[in-house]
């Protein structure tokens, strides 16, 4: 089992950040790596169990299932059903926590998965730095501008 952990501090309240990332179908509106997204079977995007079907900007197709969504904990957990990444049993959680000292947000993005031996470092890099940090950087840019 490989574990990837990326965290950051965003200069906005968790309510504000959560409003931007809560929509399970909204990745293209805030993550620079995602081209488009839809929810399969026309289900609402906050229905736990719904499946998002999206494309990355480099053309990959990914299907992910919403496993848990908490407006109270500001957290969202999902699994990968289908992807070109070569990962199995992939479960990720994106979670926000208020930093009471200043209107800031501590954001954590964690993933656990299995993969072929020898690919751990490359996947840790591409998921941790590419996907997760790439998303955090976009949020920091967005909220830094205000």
């Amino acid at each position: 089992m490989v574990r990837v952990y990326t965290s950051t501090v965003i200069d906005a309240s968790p309510d504000t950040v959560w409003a931007r990332i809560r929509d399970f179908n909204g990745l293209p509106t805030w993550h620079p790596g995602i081209a488009d997204s839809r929810i399969e079977n026309s289900e609402p995007s906050d229905k736990v169990g719904c499946i998002r079907h999206f494309h990355t900007r480099d053309g990959g197709t990914i299907r992910e299932k919403l496993l848990a969504l908490s407006d109270y904990e500001y957290s969202c957990t999902y699994s990968i059903l289908e992807s070109p990444m070569g990962v199995d049993n992939y479960i990720a959680t994106l979670k926000l926590t208020p930093v009471t000292d200043g209107m800031r947000t501590f954001a954590e993005w964690t993933a656990e998965f299995d993969c072929d031996e020898g690919r751990e470092a490359a996947l840790t890099q591409s998921i941790g730095q590419g996907v997760f940090q790439g998303g955090f950087d976009a949020l920091k840019r967005h909220f830094g501008r205000r």
């Binding site: 952990y5 965290s7 501090v9 009471t100 800031r104 954590e108 470092a121 941790g128 940090q133 955090f136």
Partner: protein
């Protein structure tokens, strides 16, 4: 009704530094202003789950608290009040630290639940939130800035902030041979805004130091003010930091690589953004010996040379500091690695580090061998300079890339563009500093280097050590072409 208090903050220090203080259940009297005396009852250890600490507070109150949970993996400490002169009832508190991976800082979450006598809810909530937690955040920040850990106390005590520190340094008064390196006494100024002062323990020696000493790059080491101090990289510990420096604290183990020479000394003040943090597994001598060479190998292989499976790579001085790293790393990337060396002994070392085809040559002749072995080289990493220029052109494959990294045999004469036309070849003359200008890029390259050393992709080579005062002997050794692997000075 049960009261709940939550406070959190970001501490500008790596989680290990914060946790080192927090995990000690008996440390509060060293950093928290409200606590006058702390002791662990019954002679138990302060990291023994179940132990009880007895606080005397500065306001005269007394509190006994029991440690319920201590997790070094989760960075969690949970404790409860067992007896107190303040009316906090059923008080259970949890401290959780989490790393901010983006910036190497620490998120500190402190929360508790408790009951109070009727009417005292607000007063006690404020007391806990502000008097204990928020004050604690500030107090711990101050404690860390003052070098508040065992490792930092020694250097912090030796260095009152804001004053120069006496140091040994090695100066060049006139350009010339190794004998121009003269040990001397000097001062390290206190760090200004954005700077950090480092007690250096190991200093890397590179060919660029030799070029500076010879006067080949006078713009980098001008002697107009009487003397210059060479040296581009070193490793040691932070003594003190200037205003506005984030993420570095007294006592932190660090290394740096900076385009301004001056590393041949015991104490140096450098810009904090030139500094990288050292993992515990990387020794000072290894870091000083390999930072410049390793970051060089990283950009050569990954960016400039684009080495991948099947690339035919020719490494000159394959048993040298950069050469050994290039051979091992390129082999791991699947390249066909050829190397030149000047002796059989060096050939053996180069082979041990992954160089498949070693060419032993003392007269800079290797092109025929390269053409025979692989049909030419897609990438040549050349530190030989002018004496090997025609052989390098002859050794290139079609569309090959000649990267001129150094010029041990003498500065390269100008190259006629038409000499490249014959093979659609390209020529590069890179400088490592342009590939590490962004702090994030620098940190990523350094992290790949430490990872490659940790997972065995790169073997830490045998390092030749010299004292700082023996810098002249070290240079003579490097120039003799007798040395194998990197050389360092010990401060």
């Amino acid at each position: 009704m049960l009261q709940k208090v939550v406070r959190s903050t970001i501490i500008d220090a790596p989680i290990e530094r914060v946790w080192e203080v927090i995990r000690d259940f008996n440390s509060h009297d060293q950093w928290h202003d409200v606590v006058d005396v702390s002791r662990i009852e019954g002679g138990e250890r302060s990291d023994q789950v179940g132990c009880v600490r007895s606080f005397s507070l500065k306001d005269g109150n007394r509190i006994r608290e029991q440690l319920l949970t201590l997790s070094d993996t989760e960075h969690v400490s949970t404790y409860c009040i067992v007896e107190a002169t303040v009316p906090l009832q059923r008080y259970v508190a949890t401290v959780t630290l989490k790393p901010v991976t983006d910036g190497n800082r620490t998120f500190w979450h402190w929360e508790s639940t408790f009951a109070t006598p009727p009417g005292m809810e607000r007063e006690l909530r404020d007391m806990v939130a502000q008097g204990v937690y928020e004050a604690g955040f500030e107090n711990l920040r101050r404690h860390l800035r003052g070098g508040g850990t065992a490792s930092a106390r020694a250097s912090a005590a030796a260095a009152p902030p804001g004053v120069p520190i006496a140091r040994r340094e090695v100066r060049v008064h006139r350009y010339g041979g190794p004998e121009q390196l003269e040990p001397s006494s000097g001062e390290a100024r206190p760090p200004g805004p954005g700077e950090v002062r480092i007690a250096q323990r190991a200093i890397g020696i590179n060919f660029i130091d030799v070029y500076l000493r010879r006067g080949w790059i006078p713009g980098m080491l001008p002697l107009a003010n009487g003397a210059g101090v060479p040296g581009m990289e070193a490793a040691g510990s932070v003594i003190d930091v200037g205003e506005g420096v984030g993420g570095l604290l007294p006592g932190d183990r660090v290394a740096y690589l900076w385009h301004e020479p001056g590393a041949y000394t015991t104490v140096r003040t450098v810009p904090a953004d030139q500094v990288v943090r050292l993992p515990a597994a990387i020794e000072d001598t290894t870091a000083a010996a390999l930072l410049l060479k390793g970051l060089t190998a990283d950009y050569l292989l990954r960016d400039l040379g684009r080495i991948r499976r099947g690339t035919r790579l020719l490494v000159h001085a394959a048993a040298g500091g950069v050469g050994l790293l290039l051979c091992a790393w390129a082999r791991k990337l699947g390249a066909t690695v050829m190397g030149t060396v000047s002796s059989e002994e060096k050939a053996r070392v180069a082979r041990e580090h992954g160089c498949e085809h070693v060419i032993v040559t003392r007269d800079y002749r290797f092109a025929d061998a390269v053409q025979r072995l692989a049909g030419g080289a897609d990438v040549i990493v050349d530190g030989l300079g002018d004496a090997a220029r025609d052989e390098n052109l002859a050794a290139l494959a079609l569309r090959g890339h000649w990267i001129s990294l150094g010029q041990a045999s003498g500065p390269l004469a100008p190259i006629d563009p038409d000499a490249l036309l014959a093979k659609s070849a390209s020529f590069s003359r890179p400088v490592v500093f342009h590939y590490i200008a962004e702090p994030r890029e620098r940190a990523e390259r350094a992290q790949r280097l430490w990872d490659a050393l940790a997972d065995g992709t790169l073997k830490a080579p045998t390092i030749e050590r010299f004292t700082l005062d023996a810098a002249a002997q070290a240079h003579a050794r490097l120039e003799s072409r007798m040395s194998i692997g990197p050389l360092v000075l010990l401060a």
